[in-house]
């Protein structure tokens, strides 16, 4: 493609975590791009490496982790760069919203100070100006009585309120990219919907690009125009939401879609994916999904680890993708 | 068992890795070896010491370390090594006796406070608050004024100062154990109070007490030595480490080892006991 350079370009990203059981290859061969103002979903089961990949973009991995590959953001390389050079980007150009709002705020500092802090360190604003803007941000994330909330401590707020605060914090410097790491998973269903609506509106208004990590396909479909699917540390499929949902080109995506309760179309009982995630310390050779896949054959054990292009904009790591999945759309093979 | 321990041990378990566990057992071995060596030295002091610790040899005073006097002689010509070895009898014995007495007193009062009902508990707890409101050394001095000089007085004063920690430990454990099923079952079976206390409650708490005691001995020996240093502990000429440090301090500039040696003796003993205490704490958690 000859379009302008993408906002974010991740290529061959690999992350090794240091665990008590030894080094763990949490993500590898991850390559994708995000254009300006685009909303991309990143889905996969827990433990698929999606959060690790997000944290690697901003260099926020746990101690002892090693990263290889490349992350280019607006022309700058972010992998292997000193903390000193990453810090001015964090919160200002790329901000991040974490999964658990209950623990993501500093329990002993006031909300106003925590929001104002990002403005003060990243934009050099003084306390008064930062505080005034923090109030405005709270109003923008639909918090009633922002003046009161500014003076409160996290433990005085509900989970939904805290997540709104964290979103306000992420929006504060008008970043060009917002990384959302399962921001609604820890919330109850009603609050989830409100937060999702808020996020969609916020990204529309600010014009920021967004990567939305979730294990929930339905959420991603609501919010994003494109989707990336991860399994056991690798990207297995990517493409525009519509085509991927209508016509998955990877057996894992197909299985994920089947496990989703249908919102439109004929009602089918949700089907869970059989089997368990493979041992992360000794993953199977070739396609990692083959141990649970209903269409796997001998050739799947020697598959290239990269996404292969399918239909231009789409890609799939399934060798059956080009020929089409044998059970695609068929009634048989849904579960065995 | 486990509930008692989790109730007592405030710090979360430290050994996350097998490597840490191995290091712990090494620490236990090193610690017990150190403490064992001290006990051996104390027992065998009369045979190990090359000289009589009290024998003065004034013409040969303040001799530098040499073949005949490995640690030199003090200002009265007494052999420092011999005094150090005999000092271990005084400090170690006194320390263990005082810690033991404090442990027994504290355990009894803790059991009583935890088991005998609210009014007794309030009184004992108040007394504990009062004792802990005074710095140890101050209470120690006040008690020694009343009890007069002598080893017996020192042990008694240290016990009366140090019992509170044991009492708190035991009381807290009793409160936990008291409400557990097996105690009620024992009560239902017709066992009387003293019997329940000693057969069912005490076995559940004594390990904690012993662990605390290993670190308490360090503090108590420090206090004994401090008294000796201030000239109000064990009376001269009995060899005692604190007194030896004080005696040597006048000659620090020229004969630093006179003060350094007895101090090091205390530090190494403290290290050994701390290692044992740490390793035991770790074991008890698992």
């Amino acid at each position: 493609m000859v379009s302008a350079e993408p906002l974010l370009e991740v290529s061959d990203l690999a992350v090794t975590l240091h665990t008590p059981q030894g080094p763990l290859r949490a993500a590898e061969g991850v390559s994708f791009a995000v254009a300006a103002a685009e909303a991309v979903g990143l889905v996969g089961e827990s433990g698929s490496g999606k959060s690790v990949a997000m944290r690697a973009i901003l260099g926020l991995l746990p101690r002892g982790s090693t990263v290889s590959g490349s992350v280019r953001f607006a022309g700058r390389e972010l992998v292997g760069v000193a903390e000193r050079q990453l810090a001015p980007i964090r919160g200002r150009e790329i901000s991040m919203i974490f999964q658990d709002p209950m623990t993501a705020l500093n329990p002993i500092r006031r909300i106003g100070g925590q929001i104002g802090e990002v403005l003060r360190i990243q934009l050099g604003w003084n306390r008064r100006r930062a505080s005034a803007h923090a109030r405005e941000l709270l109003a923008r994330v639909e918090i009633a009585e922002p003046d009161r909330v500014l003076r409160q401590f996290p433990h005085q707020l509900s989970g939904g309120m805290r997540q709104r605060v964290l979103i306000a914090m992420a929006l504060a410097c008008q970043p060009r990219l917002i990384l959302c790491d399962e921001p609604t998973t820890a919330l109850d269903v009603t609050t989830q919907d409100q937060i999702l609506a808020l996020l969609r509106r916020a990204s529309d208004e600010s014009g920021a690009a967004m990567i939305f990590v979730s294990h929930d396909l339905a959420v991603v479909r609501q919010l994003c125009s494109r989707v990336l699917v991860m399994y056991a540390g690798r990207l297995v499929e990517m493409g525009p939401i519509g085509p991927v949902f209508a016509d998955p080109r990877h057996a894992y995506t197909a299985a994920l879609l089947r496990s989703l309760p249908a919102i439109d179309g004929p009602r089918q009982p949700p089907v869970s994916i059989g089997g368990e995630l493979p041992d992360r310390f000794r993953p199977p050779s070739g396609c990692r999904f083959r141990t649970r896949c209903t269409v796997a054959d001998d050739s799947c054990a020697s598959l290239p680890s990269t996404l292969l292009p399918v239909d231009g904009e789409r890609g799939s790591a399934c060798i059956h993708a080009a020929t089409g999945l044998p059970d695609r759309g068929a009634e048989s093979g849904v579960s065995r | 068992m486990s509930t008692v321990e989790t109730a007592i041990v405030a710090e979360p378990a430290g050994a996350e890795e097998p490597r840490g566990r191995r290091r712990r057992s090494v620490a236990l071995i090193v610690g017990t070896s150190i403490v064992g060596t001290y006990i051996l030295a104390a027992v065998l002091a009369p045979w190990l010491a090359p000289y009589d610790p009290l024998a003065q040899d004034v013409p040969n005073a303040l001799a530098a370390p040499s073949g005949s006097h490995p640690l030199g002689t003090d200002h009265l010509g007494r052999d420092v090594l011999s005094r150090l070895l005999h000092g271990s009898r005084v400090d170690l014995l006194l320390g263990m006796a005082a810690a033991g007495a404090a442990g027994v007193l504290g355990t009894v009062l803790g059991l009583v406070a935890g088991y005998a009902g609210r009014s007794v508990d309030v009184v004992v707890t108040r007394v504990m608050d009062v004792v802990q409101a005074l710095p140890g050394i101050v209470l120690l001095l006040v008690l020694l004024l009343v009890l007069g000089p002598g080893a017996g007085s020192i042990i008694a004063a240290l016990a009366l100062t140090g019992w509170v920690a044991y009492a708190r430990l035991v009381r807290a454990s009793v409160l936990v154990v008291r409400d557990q099923d097996f105690t009620s079952a024992a009560r239902l079976a017709g066992l009387g109070h003293p019997r329940v206390l000693f057969r069912h409650v005490l076995p559940n708490v004594w390990i904690q007490g012993v662990i605390y005691m290993t670190s308490d001995i360090v503090i108590i020996i420090g206090a004994i030595a401090a008294l000796g240093y201030l000239g109000i502990g064990i009376q001269a000429p009995t060899p005692e480490w604190g007194q030896m440090i004080y005696d040597g301090q006048a000659f620090l500039a020229s004969h630093w080892w006179l003060s350094a040696a007895p101090g090091l003796a205390i530090v190494v003993l403290g290290l050994g006991l701390a290692l044992v205490s740490d390793a035991l704490t770790d074991r008890a958690r698992r």
Partner: protein, 313 residues
Amino acid sequence: MQRLGYLGRRLGYVLITLWGVSLLLFVMLQLLPGGPAEAMLGITATQQQVDALNQELGLDRPVVAQYVDYMGRLIRGDLGDSLVFGRPVVDVIGDALPATLKLAVYVVALSTLSTVTLATLAASFRGRAIDHVIRALPLIGVGMPGFWIGAMLLFLFALTFPFFPAGGIEEGFAGALRSLFLPALTLAISVSAILIRSLRRGLIDVLESDHVLTARAKGLRGVRLVVRHVLPNAAIPTVTLMGLVFVSLLGGALIVESVFAIPGVGQLLVNGFKRHDMPLVMGIALLSAAAILLVNLLIDVVYSLLDPRVSLR
């Protein structure tokens, strides 16, 4: 309002405990072998002298009357007259207090500095050599008697390398800073031994917490991150240890003053003990108990200010 009520109740508790301490001391006085007067005057005193002192102190009256008198004087803030100095105990202690207070403030400053520095170093390089060294320090430090550390520092930095005076307390701020450095360092070593361990644990817990990740995602790093989001949170559990530390600090200061010939309350106590100056020893005991109880109350208040989740009730 709620906070005031809490403070009122806590102050009541402090007064009750202080009353307990005074009762304990009164009982001690009564238990003195041969009575207080004889103990004070020593065995060489004649019966006449003893009787005279007994009458002067009102010790020839019934115990209950003595107690009423004792409490009455305590409530008026009268701790009696020192036998050695022949002046009110309160005045004698008041004269010695500045030296001890200077030392205490110095120790707090030094130990805070060293604890924060070493614990932060250990926590940020955990598992590395520097961490192991720092973690081993308390094991050694806990068994080191303060007076011995003092004597060794004296030998090293006052006698062998004469950077600091060998004792006493010099005039002026700079003089006090210089002359009190070694005694303060002596005490700071034992105090830090307790605190480093606790703060290191707290720091590691906080460093791994989610809110620090959020702060880093906002662009905080280095010293600013540690000072704003790590240390205050990590300090909370350590603050609860401060009461314990203050008691050991006070006890240690009394002995270290003797090592360095600092004319403070500790010297007063030791001399009072040696010369059987009962009113002086009792007065110091009562005042140190008051100091400990008030410091503990202060620590609880500080704790509630540090952690908004704690409410004083």
